[in-house]
Symmetry: C2
Subunit: 740 residues, 2 copies
């Protein structure tokens, strides 16, 4: 009798017999791991192909997010933890998904993490962009285990995982935000050298916050981007309107913060006064625009109320130029409350009485320097300096002795003191009470105020982007749902602001299905990094709705910008420079889509030349792929061997930066041109940096010897030599002595 | 008639005719440029050899600093700005220096900077370590101009400048402090992963501050270092004494800060009480030590007064467990001042009267809920709730109406109110006055307190270093005035604290006149960077007076540690990665002395292989030099071509990290061994990081093809292949799976 082991369990999600599969398209097993806070980590695994990725969805609005993922990927089976409570299983079944309950311990995040690392043969999931995504990783681990169990196999073809956490915006991860210096500069040299600092010409705090949020999450919908661009173009075209709006907004207080303080009950009198002043300007703002203003501008205007109630109440209650803090008193306007006015009168009368009393006593006693003062300990007193003590009348009662004077009181003064002090204290108490009541009344208007604040922030950003565009000569990008990026005379928006000489503009032509990969070789400091970052920044600016620093730009929408440009060691956490480089690279390769833009600067530097060069070449081949389109890629390298990829891969093209080499001197022309180069000018840069001449002379000699050896070697792919652009008369190419 | 131009002007400092020069030794022209704040920038130029460096000296103590520089370098001539006031010229002349006044504009800092850059053919002085040294650079510019004018020549042999700003300590510049993660970690991940965090086991704030200052400026005098080591060894040897001292210090308040607050007059009562408690422990501290304690321990003990006066005064004046702030009151002890005691009695009596009054009125009116309260606006009042209003007697005068109650007063209560309020206010005023006077008296003791605080800080550090040494198995280094560094079984003090497995120790043998330069090749992540940093940290720890993480260490004193290990771009300021690397390298090459330790990690990465390799080789040759000794250097590289330097340069030796390569798997053994390797395992690391298998398989194939091509090429220097250490049984070499 032949003994039969179970060799496979067939479940709807792990079906891999092609005969059992229907038409084309992936056949996903889905796993769901609950997170805290009513969100779910999701994993999708196609056992037949090994395709494996994670996602997530919230449990809100009857699992709407999660359902949209299910609808998108159409899993046939879902596994959930045995102990999972709630309506999710039922909801999944209504979608036609077979729900299987699976042992809880398979969803343990730590075990899942370890299981995935083991499966992929790695030490970390950082390279898959999965680090810190606890629930999705738990789901992935469970899916893998379930698949392994049902297939009775280790499934070696499942060798990696991608992250497809859904987002309505272009994804800019922390590494890319840092590398491109979007909101903070890399050397930590303050925020003066960031894209944000260039763009943020807003006039209000609301605008500044809105600008930042626009910048860190650009849009990915063509309509939404075009609507923003329409608004910005309106302000770009109407300079006078823009200036007037910005001038009005310049006086705006931070309505949003003040509204917050009103809600918390700690708004000060000056807050209310400046709030009123700002609100009073709203009609001026509205009157600037006609009915044919762009959609987003009209929406913002419509969102702004006239706030007549707030203006009227604050106007009646608060004096002009009030104190910052309520406890200072004196902020309630005369006429607002009769009782308060009476107490004020009383206090004032008392003070006048004191002044008169001092004058009387001076005359009566003949002591010219006699004065009436007040302190908290002894109340009102009459002060007489030592030389005049012989003039003090007998009815003065001594209260306090100072070094140079004595202080007295008399019954009259004591009586008035009680009257004045009481009036002042009651005045303060009543005023404080009236003020608290006022703020409480205003709290009902907070939602309206916030809506206005948001609208002001938006208008401010549209106008600021119009201002920047006009000031720095940006142009409106054409947004497409395509794989193209075409830039004519593009500049780096931040670098051009800090150069003492004009920035040399450059062109870019990328196409996911055409010139997909630019391999950029050439001299150090010629401008490779600046060029590549400028292209990435141009896409980001376009998709946030800004004009771009170029004569013309057509941007096929980018779903994500990936960059890999250099890293510090993370010594104590045990990662070497090269490991950090590889982790960031792995994350890119595992997650880039044909809609992504990939910027790779000198991949493979941290290891030996042979290893590095092999990795670099394999990466280009991988990004190129076999399909008809792939991620648009800018690839700067010092591995000159890579230039022969242009011949062998259809969508790879070589570029380099023009250099004028007079033999004795080298001038970087900063113009990118087609073709490759074999010179890097590293020794030249070393001399500029102050490396002793002895060292650079020797290095130059070694370099010449080595070049000679190399060129006399075996057959090599034909390569372009350095091209010189030689028509400075035309002014197209300018010599740019600025470093890099 | 032949027309004669002036071809040269002979001045004492610019004499270059060898016939006019006396014996050997440099002939310096000195330039002096005044800074603000009574310091002077100095420049020394030997026109005959082109030797050129800057220094500085303060004007204090009759120019003592400046004079010591003059005595050290013996310039024959000094140039000073025409308009310079003060006694400096006279002082210089008494030293036998010819003083020449030179035009003020030659000392202009900007012009000087530009002149030096032009002379050296660089764009910045960063590479000379001169950035930001305004006055020394001004002096250098003036010296250069003066020499050019007198020699009527551009003096092309003057091609660089060094910084020799005098310091009594090992120089650790900002770059090195950062690279070695001395006080802050590179990734900004907090301070948990720094050398400071490992060493700082001090018990007091004074100790913690002292530890930091020791660490950032280690010593360079053998005697001073040995004295510190004696103190540390004392605590290392005497564990019980160490524990007891640390336990006592654990309760010490921050005497130094409190002394500062006393001096500023803002010390709070609780400060004084904790100060007293700490001072009372001083006899306990002293009693721990016998007379044969090491010198520095005895010095610290001697510097600590018994502070009997302070203890007595605070003990009499301040209550036990006083409030933090003086304005809270109640901090002066009973019996300290009779007047205060009287007022306190009065206030207490008054309060008792109020309590009795409340009881009486309840009984008299029959209102059980009647209560007497106080508020600042209305003073003392009798409160009666609404339901009891019919019981209110006619003599009650209404003062205030609340929602549920009425408040009244009567003459009796008003009278007492005045009495109580006055007593309390006078009490507060007097107590505040007494307290202020107390703090003023204590201010006279501030210098003594500060001396004690410093001594406590020192003892704390010695004990803490003893504690760390005992806890982590450090050993006492042997300090020499030699060019050697010998380490047996050295570890990285920070990395070993964070590894889940034992750290694999390694040996080091460096000698300025022997094995001067270690060229370290080998696999990525094998531990090159960690090894090199461990050596540098060992020197720093030894010279700050700490034991070191090694079985044995002999440290020939290091005047300066230079490191160059990787950098970020400084995009907006216009410096490329490679430029940053070259600037840091230039600074090292221009300033390293035969006493320095130089750590170079993968120099030449940022440019093409040929340029980088040429630069790297030239740098090694330069550091090696032609003389009999040079900077001790650790040089990690992936340029395997460099290993043939071992044959051609006398003081260069190859090393690499052992790897066990089973063909299918690679294990890093983390043991450094002599000889070179030709494998970097970059592709292996890439796979570990999660680079898609497709990419790494392809890279491995490319690598094999390329290796084949290379080895079939022309003749090469003989090279060692990867050695395997294969005696795991002995346990000398452990397999360490932790990354790097």
């Amino acid at each position: 009798v032949v003994k039969r082991d179970v060799t496979r369990v067939v479940t709807p999600g792990t079906l891999i017999d092609s005969s059992m599969l229907g038409s084309a398209g992936a056949q996903y097993l889905m796993a769901v791991a609950p997170d805290r806070k009513d969100t779910f980590g999701l994993a999708f695994l196609d056992v037949s192909t090994g395709e494996f990725f994670i996602s997530s969805g919230s449990g809100g609005r009857d699992y709407a997010d999660l359902v949209s993922e299910v609808v998108r990927y159409r899993p046939t089976e879902a596994i959930i933890p045995e102990s999972l409570q709630g309506g999710l299983p039922g909801r999944l079944e209504t979608l036609g998904v077979t729900v299987s309950r699976y042992r809880d311990d398979a969803f343990d995040p730590d075990a899942a993490y370890a299981r995935l690392c083991e499966q992929f043969g790695t030490t970390t999931l950082e390279g898959y962009g999965c680090e810190g995504l606890t629930a999705p990783v738990a789901a992935a681990g469970a899916a893998l285990r379930y698949a392994q169990e049902t297939q009775q196999s280790s499934l070696p073809h499942i060798s990696g995982i991608a992250s497809r956490i859904p987002t309505g915006n272009m994804v800019l991860d922390a590494i890319t935000l840092r590398n491109l210096e979007i909101t903070t500069s890399i050397r930590g040299s303050g925020d003066g050298n960031t894209l944000l600092s260039v763009l943020d010409t807003t006039e209000t705090s609301m605008g500044s916050r809105t600008m930042r949020s626009f910048l860190i999450s650009p849009l990915i919908g063509k309509t939404a981007i075009d609507e923003r661009l329409d608004a910005v173009e309106h302000f770009f075209d109407h300079a006078l309107e823009r200036q007037e709006l910005r001038s009005i907004l310049g006086d705006f207080s931070d309505i949003e913060r003040i509204a917050g303080r009103i809600a918390y009950g700690n708004a000060g009198p000056r807050d209310l006064a400046t709030l009123k002043e700002s609100l009073e300007c709203i009609p001026d703002v509205k009157s600037l625009f006609s009915d044919d203003a762009p959609l987003l501008v009209r929406e913002a205007l419509d969102a702004m109320s006239d706030h007549a109630g707030v203006i009227d109440l604050v106007g009646r209650a608060i004096v002009d130029d009030p104190p910052a803090l309520a406890k200072s008193g004196g902020m309630i306007r005369e006429g607002f409350n009769r009782k308060l006015d009476e107490l004020r009168h009383l206090a004032t009368t008392g003070k006048n009485w004191i002044a008169e009393f001092q004058q009387q006593e001076r005359e009566r006693t003949g002591i010219k320097s006699l004065k009436v003062g007040y302190n908290r300990v002894f109340g009102y007193y009459i002060e007489v300096t030592k030389p005049n003590l012989h003039l003090v009348p007998p009815e003065y009662e001594r209260r306090q002795t100072l070094a140079n004077a004595e202080r007295y009181t008399i019954p009259d003064l004591r009586e008035k003191e009680a009257m004045i002090a009481t009036a002042e204290e009651r005045l303060a108490a009543l005023e404080a009470e009236l003020y608290t009541e006022l703020v409480r009344t205003l709290a009902a208007h907070v939602p309206d105020l916030q809506a206005t604040a948001r609208a002001v922030g938006l208008l401010d950003v549209y106008a600021a982007l119009g201002e920047v565009a006009a000031r720095y000569g940006y142009s409106r990008p054409v947004i497409e749902e395509s794989g193209r990026i075409i830039i004519r005379d593009g500049r780096h928006p931040v670098v051009e602001r800090h150069l003492p000489v004009p920035f040399v503009p450059n062109d870019t032509e990328l196409d996911a299905a055409g010139d997909q990969i630019m391999i950029i070789t050439g001299a150090n400091m010629a401008g490779k990094s600046t060029y590549m970052r400028a292209v990435a920044l141009c896409c980001i600016m376009a998709q946030m709705g800004s004009f771009v620093p170029a004569r013309h730009a057509t941007i096929g929408i980018v779903d994500r910008v990936f960059t890999r440009v250099g890293a510090f060691d993370d010594l104590a956490s045990g990662q070497s420079t090269f490991m950090v480089e590889m982790l960031e690279l792995a994350n890119i390769l595992n997650n880039a889509t044909p809609q992504s833009l990939v910027v790779l600067d000198e991949i493979g530097r941290g290891t030996s030349t042979l290893d590095g060069c092999s990795i670099a070449r394999a990466v280009v081949e991988f990004l190129h792929g076999k399909a008809v389109a792939g991620s648009r890629t800018l690839f700067a390298t010092h591995f000159h061997d890579l230039i022969d990829l242009e011949g062998s891969l259809a969508r790879v093209k070589n570029f380099h930066f023009a250099v004028k080499d007079t033999g004795s001197d080298v001038v970087f022309l900063r113009k990118i041109i087609p073709g490759a180069t074999d010179r890097s000018y590293g020794v030249h840069v070393a001399r500029l940096a102050g490396i002793p001449k002895k060292v650079t002379d020797r290095a130059m000699k070694l370099l010449k010897e080595a070049s000679g050896r190399e060129f006399s070697g075996g057959p090599r792919a034909p390569r372009y030599t350095q091209m010189l652009l030689v028509d400075p008369g035309e002014g197209v190419v300018e010599e740019n002595p600025a470093v890099r």
